[in-house]
Symmetry: C2
């Protein structure tokens, strides 16, 4: 039975890729309000596709922000389990646009990779699932299990409205387990199961000085420079040994066990100099880069600006300076508490003569960990191995998927994270791409998995 499904996917490679390209061509940048309509069009693309596949109860559910596509397939019968498949059709902004080798919304294949914003995160991976459902329906005529589909349009802006929708429609989204494909493999074609995800929180700080930019020759020596003040604040939050120096930040964080250090050491590390161009890795004192990225909390300045940025010199004391900060958290850290610690730290170290204005990131999430020995996970590992012909590794990763925390909190059902991305995909960066062979082997994995966990 699975052979004919796989056969269908191979035979229909071109029309499937053409459809995927149409999906990727929609600039559904959720953070940018000027793309509101494009986000809507991407939702429409998903709802029309699942309707065509044969899902019933297809809905574009309105939220306070962008719509969420819900769909149901019930015909596997009462004895079959029900899976909730979650993904997102929104994408990150594309700037700096100059660095893209081809237009981010005009998909292009180069050397076996499909280049487009969202090719990997997460339109490409959502599409793999939809294509597999199509293949089952067109060949076997039915799916091996009942499926609920939940594809949202706000993942890249912290899934702002998803939690409310899930709470309000708790029954509607209820399932025996959840599958999410919004993560990656540790190396191309290295089957990887995530058993831990980091939590997330953030803060934006603006240091305000004079009510206008001032002439540095006239006012230098009398007025606190807001950019300088902000560098003092930020430099006090993480030291050069990459240790976060905010009182209480590590409270509740368990030290990494020897067992887990061993598990992490088995994972083939990314070749960072090849993928990112850096000359050397840096990580928290006492931890390797693999350990820090997978299992230790992080603190990053995502953006900072103040004063003159143009050509040449402008001799001013800037009126203000702003930094955008986000943290990735591990089990034992409460995101709201961490936000308060950041805020208190900033207010405590703020130099005199300037004011600080602090905005708290609205949606934060706790870290999540799942039992690697659960049968649904072990079955996934086997299906991966069958498709990719390689032993599956189990890892924790630094990315944050708020929905995982919420689904866990609401339903307490297993959440299976089947990622197919590769380290070379350049998520959130210029020239995002996805390898076509991973796309095919990933679909094969899913074909096996639905058969394995279905009836």
């Amino acid at each position: 039975m699975v052979e004919q499904v796989i056969h269908y996917l191979k035979n229909n490679r071109n029309p499937l890729l053409e459809r995927l390209n149409r999906f990727l061509s929609i600039p559904s940048v959720s953070t940018d309000s000027s793309h509101k309509n494009d986000v809507k069009n991407a939702a429409r693309f998903v709802s029309e596709y699942v309707k065509e596949i044969g899902f019933t109860h297809v809905e574009e559910m309105e939220t306070k922000g962008h719509p969420l596509v819900f769909a149901e397939y019930n015909e596997a019968g009462e004895n079959a389990p029900t899976v909730l498949f979650y993904g997102h059709y929104d994408v990150q902004p594309v700037d700096p646009i100059d660095e893209w080798e081809s237009d981010p919304f005009t998909p292009e294949v180069r050397e076996g990779r499909l280049y487009a914003r969202g090719a990997s995160d997460d339109k490409g991976q959502v599409f793999m699932h939809l294509a597999v459902f199509e293949a089952y329906m067109k060949t076997v005529g039915k799916l091996p299990l009942n499926v609920k589909v939940c594809i949202e349009g706000e993942e890249e802006i912290g899934s702002e409205n998803l939690y409310d929708v899930l709470r309000e429609h708790q029954e509607k989204f209820a399932a025996d387990f959840v599958v999410i494909s919004d993560s990656g493999m540790v190396a191309k074609n290295q089957p990887t199961i995530l058993y831990g995800l980091k939590g997330f929180t953030g803060i934006e700080v603006t240091v305000k000085g004079p009510d206008q930019d001032l002439h540095s020759g006239i006012y230098g020596g009398a007025v606190r420079n807001p950019v300088m003040a902000l560098t003092h604040i930020l430099a006090s939050m993480k030291n050069q040994e990459e240790v976060i120096t905010i009182d209480g930040f590590y409270d509740g964080v368990e030290p990494l066990s020897e067992e887990e250090r061993k598990l992490i050491s088995k994972v083939e590390g990314e070749n960072y100099s090849a993928t990112t161009g850096i000359s050397e890795t840096v990580s928290e004192k006492g931890y390797s880069a693999k350990e820090h990225t997978m299992a230790r909390p992080t603190f990053e300045i995502n953006g900072m600006y103040g004063g003159y940025q143009g050509e040449g010199t402008k001799t001013i004391i800037p009126a203000s300076a702003t930094a955008k900060i986000t943290c990735r958290l591990v089990p034992g850290q409460d995101p709201n508490h961490i936000q308060q610690l950041l805020k208190q730290h900033i207010e405590r170290v703020k130099p005199s003569g300037v004011e600080v204005d602090i905005k708290l990131e609205k949606l934060s999430s706790k870290a999540y960990m799942v039992e690697p020995n659960h049968p649904l996970i072990q079955k996934a590992a086997l299906c991966y191995e069958k498709a990719f012909q390689k032993e599956t590794v189990f890892v924790r990763m630094g990315g944050s998927i708020p929905v995982v925390e919420w689904l866990d909190k609401i339903y307490q059902t297993p959440i299976i994270l089947l990622g197919f991305g590769t380290p070379e995909d350049r998520l959130h960066s210029p020239n995002e791409s996805f390898p076509l062979d991973s796309f095919e082997k990933g679909m094969e994995t899913l074909v096996y998995y639905w058969k394995e966990v279905g009836i």
Copy 2:
């Protein structure tokens, strides 16, 4: 004789202001190459005006950058002294443009002030001189002394080509003394003579990390964040007591004498909270704000940027971060040596895992001090007092005029700094303006001064 000249200026107030408005309407932003033609038009405005007044040998001298207007008036005779009048017709950029209450290049009078970019710095003050020359010619029929005019278009970009022009045409610009009006009074209508100016130097530092922006969830913990690295570098250069913490920075700087501290304490300080909106002043440990702005070196970050600046959150480790830094120097400091100290400091404290790229500001200048008891200065003080009906104060100021250092170096003649700006003028900031009564009293001062020093 002077009465009729002053009378002319009063009678012709409106046509003179209309002509000044035409001058201010030309967006001669020298740092921005897209304004190259506007800068040329401002030079043309000056050359046409001095020709009309009756100057001979009017020239728009080409340079590698923007042209310099030279003109000569010789008819005062061999017994009369020759003054070189220096000014600049270029202006600072206007951003942030949103904060201007009226268009920066559409002059507008509100509550006795003329609002426009350049109204004070330096088009307005240049125009006062030209109008006084016009008034002398139209009434007395001649000027009381020989005059050479040198109005350049690159002051706001460090007078990039002026030094070469002065060196190449040393004889042409030679004069018995120099007069410059490109500074301000310590308070509106408080006659002020500058006896010291600070020197200037600068550096731009870019910290380079990965070759692209990276996903903070995947790479956080392995990759040095360039923005964080830059904050560590910058925070190490000046402490929160406003002491510059760069090895050797203060070498050669004389401590402020008790005599000079007394002189400075007599000057009425600016009401900073009224003019800039700050809650309190900050200054170098051991020095008042007046002492620091006038007589101690400064270090300012004029602009800084790295990573995401848009709406919402973007979870990246930025590829790079840049800071623009300038310093104001006092006697005893060599600008090129200071630049090297900054560079060496940055290279020494640079964290691992990132590279730094350093650009040195091309044109720097040494600080300048002049003898306050020189007769040409004492005469200026008296003329000020006659026009403004208030005792003249003598101050040092934090602004830098590279031309002062060069003229001193080349000619060793007295340089008289007659400033008419006011602390409320918002130089280099949105809503630059100049009070019309200072404009009138300033012209009166000049009428007296030329008579006093001429024949």
